[in-house]
Amino acid sequence: MAAALRLAAKGCWAAGPRPAVLQGPLVTQWTRAVFTSPSAAALKSQSAEDYWAKNKRLRRPVSPHLTIYKPQITSMLSITHRGTGLALSALVSGLGIGMVVLPGSYPHYLAMIQAMQFGGGIIMGAKFLIALPFMFHLCNGVRHLVWDLGYGFTLRALYKSGYLVVAVSVVLAAIAAAM
């Protein structure tokens, strides 16, 4: 089978006569292919099956992707941007829907938390944990907008801006926690 393929690729006469579309130098073949589309009859004779349905039908396995790809700052910051966005959204929705559903007022629940008498360190830690997703999403969001303007797509710039965003986020969250 491999030998036959090699014969076919080399265009050897031993593989048999080839149709017009596969004759001539590769450049000519490619040009011909680019400028010809299947005829209406050809399209009818073959059914256009959905990509996923076809591969499911042939029971083909899917190559590993998430399990084998090395985590890099590009992908990790991207998914973190999505994750922080989702978390902040949950917070906003929680506040909006929660304050309608729950019977008491906001100061009432604040007083409940105050009554638990957490230490200063724990409160500062909690503030940092709330501020960090917000600051990261803000800083990385700015990084996104810079990309949308067309800047910073070289690998060096990606890595530099990535590390900068992480550093600035931590600093801003620390400042917010101290306030």
């Binding site: 089978m1 036959a4 393929l5 014969l7 076919a8 690729a9 593989a15 048999g16 080839r18 149709p19 579309v21 596969l22 490619w30 292919a33 680019v34 010809t36 589309s37 299947p38 009859a41 050809a42 399209l43 004779s45 073959q46 059914s47 256009a48 099956e49 959905d50 990509y51 996923w52 076809k54 999505r82 966005g85 989702l86 902040l88 959204s89 906003v92 929705s93 506040l95 909006g96 829907i97 929660g98 304050m99 309608v100 007022s105 906001y106 100061p107 604040l110 938390i113 105050q114 503030k127 803000l138 969001g141 700015v142 907008l145 949308d148 303007l149 067309g150 797509f153 070289t154 306030m179």
Partner: protein, 172 residues
């Protein structure tokens, strides 16, 4: 991918196309189209060469199929809303008026809605979940966003308001 195509369109409109000349993005914009051989031609080939011939499979991306319309306007609106949001939040803290609060609640909810919708559309796909569940999921996102906006407006009207909520929480 859709975002990149939209970006190209935006750059053409904004006249910053020259900047894209400097980008090393060769190959990223090319839409690959595999040459499709007519069936009669393929059948005439020996079996070994039939393996090399490409079969007619629909190569359109599912998200473009689902959208059925131009994404550029939505994409642009998302970026503008992001800028507006980045201005409104500090403004609401500096000048805590009810009108700014309501506007901030609207911007926040819309930004969050578009974000969560993108996540749901990305992961709850027809190829994995079938035909009905993705549509229900997107409907659920709309319901959640409407409920959130309603809840936030109720909170601003009857309770302390978003800015005061954060300030009071931070005073703990």
């Amino acid at each position: 991918m859709a975002g990149l195509l939209a970006l190209r369109g935006l750059s053409r409109n904004c006249g910053v196309a020259s900047r894209f000349g400097a980008l090393r993005l060769n190959g990223l914009y090319r839409v690959t189209s595999r040459p499709l051989l007519p069936a009669t031609c393929t059948q005439a080939l020996p079996p070994s060469q039939q393996l090399l011939a490409t079969s007619l499979v629909r190569s359109t991306a599912p998200e473009i199929e689902q959208a059925g319309h131009d994404h550029v306007l939505h994409w642009t609106a998302e970026r503008i809303l992001t800028l507006v949001l980045m201005g409104v939040i500090p403004a609401a803290f500096v000048w805590p008026t009810p009108s700014l609060e309501y506007f901030m609640a609207l911007s926040l909810t819309l930004h969050s809605h578009w974000g969560v919708e993108a996540i749901v559309v990305d992961y709850i796909r027809p190829s994995v979940f079938g035909k009905i569940i993705p549509k229900l999921a997107v409907g659920a996102v709309y319901a959640l966003s409407i409920a959130t906006l309603g809840g936030l407006c109720y909170f601003i009207y009857t309770d302390v308001g978003i800015v005061n909520a954060v300030k009071l929480l931070w005073k703990l």
